[in-house]
């Protein structure tokens, strides 16, 4: 898929480096650097161009590599889908989970309606990982005319703000269990976006980012900012969220990876 023109982030692997990298042997450092570079090569650095929509992506590992997983797929029906997931934990172990899920989503016939996609991918994932690991995720399909379908597995639903600035209520009822536990059914939710409506997809490292005194950034702040920035270009909104969360941390280290995907219907 052609890029949107979004510039790649200058250093997505800007999270803190593990002690083996800082204090280990040259061989250790080389290994970490290779792992970081490999992950950067397999993760999309920018969102693709999708007819009728504008997308803007940002991600930030808490560690040298991320357990968050974002990707885009050209589906058999010609539509574009995105998957945004969060492997349990963070760092190298969680990055294994994202690699497994990436393999499943790129090599198996799982791209059906979003609920079926998560069910099929989750069943495969369940067979491949240890019982104490899991991944949360959301699979969302962008169809022409503002038709959106999504399903979520232990993951926050998209925030949806319309062009009048009204934020839709977040309904957790359709959210199914995390991927990797019991393979189970997932509900597909259908929305119809109007032109200029926006969606925000994100991982929990964003709203759960805590300041030095332990205060989380919180979903409420995120929702208020997102709903109040309709006149701001989408890229600036996403970057603004990053800036606000970073300011909230006030020097505290990011505890978790986070990924943000902004979507706007343009036609």
């Amino acid at each position: 898929m052609p890029p949107t023109g979004q510039e790649p982030p200058p250093n997505p692997g800007s999270g803190r480096w593990p002690s083996p990298f800082n204090s280990g042997s040259a061989e250790d450092k080389s290994g970490w650097a290779k792992l970081c570079n490999l992950q950067r090569r397999i993760l999309p650095q920018i969102a693709p161009a999708v007819s009728g929509y504008r997308l803007f992506l940002a991600y930030r590992p808490a560690f040298v590599v991320t357990g968050d997983y974002h990707d885009f797929f050209r589906r058999p029906d010609g539509n574009t889908a995105t998957f945004l997931g969060d492997g349990s934990g963070h760092g190298p172990a969680a990055s294994m989970l994202m690699a497994i899920m990436r393999t499943i989503l790129h090599t198996h016939d799982v791209h059906h309606d979003p609920g079926s996609t998560l069910e099929r991918a989750g069943a495969l994932f369940h067979r491949l990982i240890p019982s104490d690991l899991f991944m949360t995720g959301i699979y969302l399909v962008l169809a022409p005319g503002g038709r959106i379908q999504w399903a979520a597995a232990g993951h926050h639903p998209p925030l949806w703000v319309n062009r009048r600035g009204r934020l839709s209520a977040v309904d957790l009822a359709p959210v199914g269990s995390v991927l990797g536990f019991d393979p189970g059914p997932y509900e597909t939710v259908s929305w119809n976006l109007e032109i200029d409506d926006r969606l925000l997809l994100f991982t929990d490292g964003l709203w759960d980012a805590r300041s030095k005194v332990g205060e989380p950034y919180g979903r409420q702040r995120l929702k208020e900012y997102f709903a109040g920035t309709l006149d701001t270009p989408l890229a600036d909104v996403v970057n603004g969220i990053l800036a606000r969360v970073t300011a909230h941390l006030a020097g505290a280290e990011f505890e978790d990876d986070f990924t943000i995907l902004g979507i706007e219907r343009t036609a």
């Binding site: 934990g89 240890p130 899991f134 199914g176 269990s177 759960d208 989380p216 978790d256």
Partner: protein, 126 residues
């Protein structure tokens, strides 16, 4: 070593585990595999291992303030263990900040949730 959880056997079949501090991350992050973590070992030794077939474990989250995914991994592992015994896991007293993450991860679809310990005990005693 400071305990992170205290386990009380109400009956032969029902045990309550109460977490003792708001932030138990050191006991969650000390090992990569959940069965190797201090938190899991405390829960297993204090509650799970002693419960018989069909036993019930109640987890009281009243004092917990920090609920990372590693904590949910512990719950998933406990659920595996208790299902192997054909038992049940009940969760109670979730503070709002914990409930937010627990609900988002689909916790209510896997666990029986109660607002108070008394209600969880009443359900377990039925």
């Amino acid at each position: 070593m400071t305990a992170n959880v205290i386990c009380e056997a109400l009956t032969e079949h029902i045990c309550i585990a109460r977490f003792l501090r708001p932030d138990v991350r050191p006991a969650l992050y000390d090992q990569e595999a959940i069965p190797d973590t201090l938190m899991y070992k405390e829960l297993n030794a204090g509650a799970i291992a002693g419960l018989p077939e069909g036993g019930i474990l109640i987890l009281n989250f009243g004092l917990i303030d920090w609920f990372p995914t590693a904590f949910y991994r512990v719950l998933i592992q406990i659920l595996h263990d208790m299902r192997a015994k054909h038992g049940r896991v009940l969760v109670c007293c979730l503070p709002p900040i914990v409930k937010e993450g627990f609900d988002l991860m689909g916790g209510p679809k896997l666990f029986e949730v109660h607002s108070t310990e008394a209600r969880a005990i009443a359900s377990a005693s039925k």
